[in-house]
Point group: C2
Amino acid sequence: MSQNEVEKSVPTLADVASLANVSTATVSRCLNSPDRVGKDTRERVMKAVNELGYAPNFGAQALAARQTNTIGAVIPTMENAVFARGLQAFQEELGRHGKTLLLASSAYDAELEEQQIRALVARGADALLLIGYDREPEIYRFLEKRGVPTLIAWSFNPAETRTAVGFDNRAAMRALARDVIAQGHRNIACITAPTRSNDRARGRVEGIRDAKVEAGQDPAEVMIVETPYGIGTGEEAFRQVMAQAPDTTAIMCVNDVLAVGALRAARALGLRVPEDISVTGFDDIEIAALADPELTTVHVPHREMGRRAAQRLIEVLQDNVMGQSKELPTEIRMRQSLGPARKA
Amino acid sequence: MSQNEVEKSVPTLADVASLANVSTATVSRCLNSPDRVGKDTRERVMKAVNELGYAPNFGAQALAARQTNTIGAVIPTMENAVFARGLQAFQEELGRHGKTLLLASSAYDAELEEQQIRALVARGADALLLIGYDREPEIYRFLEKRGVPTLIAWSFNPAETRTAVGFDNRAAMRALARDVIAQGHRNIACITAPTRSNDRARGRVEGIRDAKVEAGQDPAEVMIVETPYGIGTGEEAFRQVMAQAPDTTAIMCVNDVLAVGALRAARALGLRVPEDISVTGFDDIEIAALADPELTTVHVPHREMGRRAAQRLIEVLQDNVMGQSKELPTEIRMRQSLGPARKA
């Protein structure tokens, strides 16, 4: 199947136009707004369509009709159940409206994300779902120019103007940090993914500092360790914290995967959780409740977020109006891994 | 951004042709094989391209050049790390060759998978990666007709003719079942995903029966419980087995997620693993080694499979030849959850 053979085997809009002796615009019109075309022309075009076996949904229709019923989404990773669950609900809701989801996974790489956004637009996605606000303004300009409605999920920041269906990462972590501080913790460390190009992680780190300030403590006391998301990296980061700041009594991780790594490292070091050290997570994915001890974390309504995001995009494609941003509530799940600070 | 506005805002190949006063075929040639077009024509076309702000990679180029540098893949679920890991490696290798991966997740639904395959082809995917062999012959005919090279992964079955980069699910599970039987187990149950449209799960179940036959035992003795993949469903299936067949001494699960559920149910029922009952998994994803007790399972070379699958598809796009199938070896990971059968 060489390029040439493929070219021969797939008839194009231009082939139809040529055979029917009309312009390509007329072919498009016949396929998409047949009532706007005279009967004779329509019959001639449809005859050519059938004769050539032209399949209007092979790209050409996308160009002609600007309706592909395909929605694109770029997520930072497939390796975290948080996105798998949310996007599954997103896809189910899209499916109920006859839309197909095409997905790309950027591996938290801003450049790769841009390439994937451009590919999805080039492949005719009607609309896009993106995770978080952080990206080059040039990308948003590109999407506006192309007229591709774009919705942000996983973040809700009242200071941002773009439409989002998400939650306030900073406020959610602030609430958990208040509970940590209320248990007598002062020497708090934070294990986070790199915060550059990741407003969710950055917001969560800021939330811890906010709570320190509220409690009359110095936010600079929070030891921050940045490492890529992972169980192994969480383990290493935990060891680093305990080596550099052995007085730490609570380690707040910006997601559950890092926190599970921290729990493993604690066990390996012979530290009891929460008696010797408290550990908290964020997301409330399945492993949070499976961990031993069970992980205290922030529950994120992934499935509801996915479902509502799909509804919002379906609305904008139907009605041409992108609605207001929607903030979803998060909840603290108090389990076993947070306890009172040990005595100094 | 109504359909009309979008139509107005995005210039088409036909717009360029009209402004340059040439055929659309000439525009395509200018963009894709400029040396095949006279200098004057080329300059006129490129002037029109620039004037209109025509972006050749918006679908039109796909139609014109049949080269989108986009590879499609349909996986059964995002909610299992096994696919996340394998596809991440697949994507990384594609990226090294300038290809972008667009993904769809079928939720183990054959009809949805077909819809997604058609959408990926309609959106111009140069080639496809599909998981397992099982699907309607009509879909394979459709892909052949459209000239879209398609590679199977996650399965390798010498009896099949389609090109695959995968492993022999049946032989891999047979090897593990031999070890289970060698530990004195005879009353073996199997917890599996529905085997219809899932040759991987079906092969693994058959592998257990094969080992029973080899050992001179009746393969019909294996109690089979089908349930969707999940930790919760694995728990329920374990309870069902123990309620219906309390003599069971080993439960072989066709993936690690089900097996982790089985371990949880065993603990909840006060059964010690492996003293009272042995549990095995398949895949060797991260939770297998994190489980307590650590899970005996079959290690699948996800990342290598993803990398090799990408190389194979890149080759076929370059050289027009789909190579031979490639079988990758699996390995048994003996951990703590398999032990000798308890005395009757």
